[in-house]
Amino acid sequence: MSAAEKAAKPKITIIEAIAKAYQDAFAEDPKVITLGEDLADPEGGGIAKITQGLSTKFGDDRVRSTPISEQAIMGAAIGASLAGYKPIAEIMLMNFTTVAMDMIVNHAAKLRFMSGGQTSVPIVIRTMTGLGFGSGGQHCDYLEAWFAHTPGIKVCAASTPEDAYGLLRSAIEDPDPVIFIENLPTYRVPMSFTLPEPGHRVPLGKAAIQREGTDVTIVTYARMAVQARMAAEQAAADGISAEVVDLRTIAPWDRDTVLASARKTGRVLVVHEAVREHGVGAEIASVVSEELFGELKKPVKRLGGAYSAVPYSRPLENAYAPDAERILAAIKEIAA
């Protein structure tokens, strides 16, 4: 990267990285196919335009718009994968996975095991979510804990364009079903300077230390990783060194990286947008406590969404999920 580039503002967004991942995967592997509501060009290339141009370039057989039938979408993806294809099924919003739960939980996740390894379901379920648009209770939930609790499914969420590209490419190539969760409010935020090269991969199950620190470990993912990076910057100004660990793969999660960081700092804060109660943070806090009980300087702290439906009204929506300010307050609390 040139000095001029470094001086300039980043231009590349997560949405561009995902669109490029599609283009590159489709060009490289004829077994990659996709289906979902409005995905093909006559329907506009998807609500986020991620697949725009794809059906024209790669054909209507490989890029298919569907009826609003999430069970049928998931079933078709599962069936095609049983016959050797690598389908990317777009379930437009994460709340809509609820109407396809039988297909995802009883079938996609379990067919490999129940068949004794004779069949497998190498699908990617791409789904968008995240509060910030005043969509209320049925359009922006984070439901990753449900899937993380289901053996047989991997769960990913990226917080940078490079990770979005590299994780999605790895998810498409993975021999097992992967739920790839995309955050809508950070979709179009410029974060990087160049689009990833076609060979770029981020291995599933490997966390990223996005900022090194020595006093506090923040374990997080998705939009909360963006907020945690901002909070860590502010904490540094106050003389607290916070390490930000972005899980990237929520299940199965990278215990080694998290435990190594926790061992180093002795203080752990887990942050996610999903409801805190019974969330992914409970699992991480529990494992850290089990493994490092005598070494921790403070009890593990969790921040998460409120125990309510996601609200509509702006002040309520703002109050619902953690943000950089609340993460900073929590950092200070456990660093004290």
Partner: protein, 329 residues
């Protein structure tokens, strides 16, 4: 090509009978084995429904796929599931087709196109569409069959799947085995319109109601649906009228089935009926059929012997087949 034939001739009828005799004998043995305590398993008897999958097996090729349901061992045997791997799986042994991890409700055998067996009512249909989409992408004329019961005709997954198959013109064949009871509930009580085949009209696809216990009628209906699907003309919904002789799952109190209805159905047992027809029309002799049946019993004996002599899985096997890579110990 046998699969382009739309009428069941003598050779086909004999072929159908061989399969039906195997299915009937296997069901009788399964109930006997459970009662004797040799193998403990959940079991959904299909006795009385043998003709439908025997016809399907006579029309389909090995590369055609099938997604079936918990009451589906007849569908699988009709499609060629090998008896030793079947019985070892029922017995929960490592030599079972699914290494003992699936059991009677999740039997799978891809070499014969038996891709999914689901314990969830109606869920065979959406997955069958994906296998049909793959056939389209491959440029293959293979077809994808899903079977389900009359109860599944009222679950959303089946309707979503019928619509998608119609709009994508998929080579999916929807085979509803209407045995007149959804679990313990009478068909006419919970199924509006009492005409599952008629629902096809709403999706703009052919819907056929056929006597599933009549080999020739069933053959014509199914062979035509397969020919349509192979020719790229899209899906068909076939409602095969039949009857199950026993309760929903083996051991349940089947008092919800009226005694007279059950007695009449058993009196009209489709398997001996076909057998008598073969003899009357001189398609096979009594001796020939007896020899076929004896050979089937001997094969079942051998399969059960193999199953019961096979090793049980080890607890450590839980770490394998969750993902492609093993789970750390």
């Amino acid at each position: 090509m046998a699969d382009k034939q739309l009428e069941a001739d003598s050779a086909v009828l004999l072929e159908i009978y061989k399969r039906a005799a195997l299915l009937k004998a296997n069901d009788e043995r399964a109930r006997k084995v459970i009662l004797s305590g040799q193998i403990a398993m959940v079991y959904y008897s299909y006795r009385g429904q043998e003709i439908i999958p025997s016809v399907m097996g006579s029309v389909l090729r090995d590369d055609d796929t099938i997604c079936t349901i918990y009451r589906g061992i007849h569908d699988m045997l009709g499609k060629g599931f090998p008896l030793p791997e079947l019985w070892a799986e029922l017995a929960g042994r490592t030599t079972g087709s699914c290494k003992g991890k699936g059991g009677p409700m999740h039997l799978t055998y891809p070499p014969k196109g038996i891709m999914v067996t689901t314990g969830i009512v109606g869920s065979s249909a959406p997955i069958a569409n994906g296998l049909a989409w793959a056939a389209q992408l491959d440029g293959s004329d293979r077809v994808s069959v899903c079977t389900f019961g009359d109860g599944a005709s009222n679950i959303g997954a089946v309707h979503e799947a019928l619509n998608l198959a119609a709009v994508w013109k998929l080579p999916t064949i929807f085979v509803c085995q209407n045995n007149l009871f959804a679990e313990h509930t009478k068909f006419e009580k919970m199924t509006a319109g009492q005409n599952i085949a008629g629902r096809a009209e709403g999706y703009g696809i052919p819907g056929v109601r056929v006597d599933g216990n009549d080999s020739e009628a069933m053959y014509s209906a199914f062979a035509e649906a397969v020919a349509r699907a192979r020719a790229g003309e899209g899906p068909t919904l076939i409602e095969c009228m039949t009857f199950r002789f026993f309760g929903h799952n083996f051991g349940d109190d089947d008092s919800y089935i009226p005694k007279e209805q059950k007695a009449a159905a058993m009196e009209a047992d489709p398997v001996p009926r076909l057998r008598a027809r073969l003899i009357a029309d001189r398609i096979a002799s009594e001796d020939e059929l007896a020899a076929i049946e004896a050979a089937i019993e001997a094969e079942i004996d051998k399969a059960i012997e193999f199953a019961l002599a096979s090793p049980w899985p080890e607890p450590d096997d839980l770490r394998f087949d969750v993902f492609a890579k093993e789970i750390a110990a």
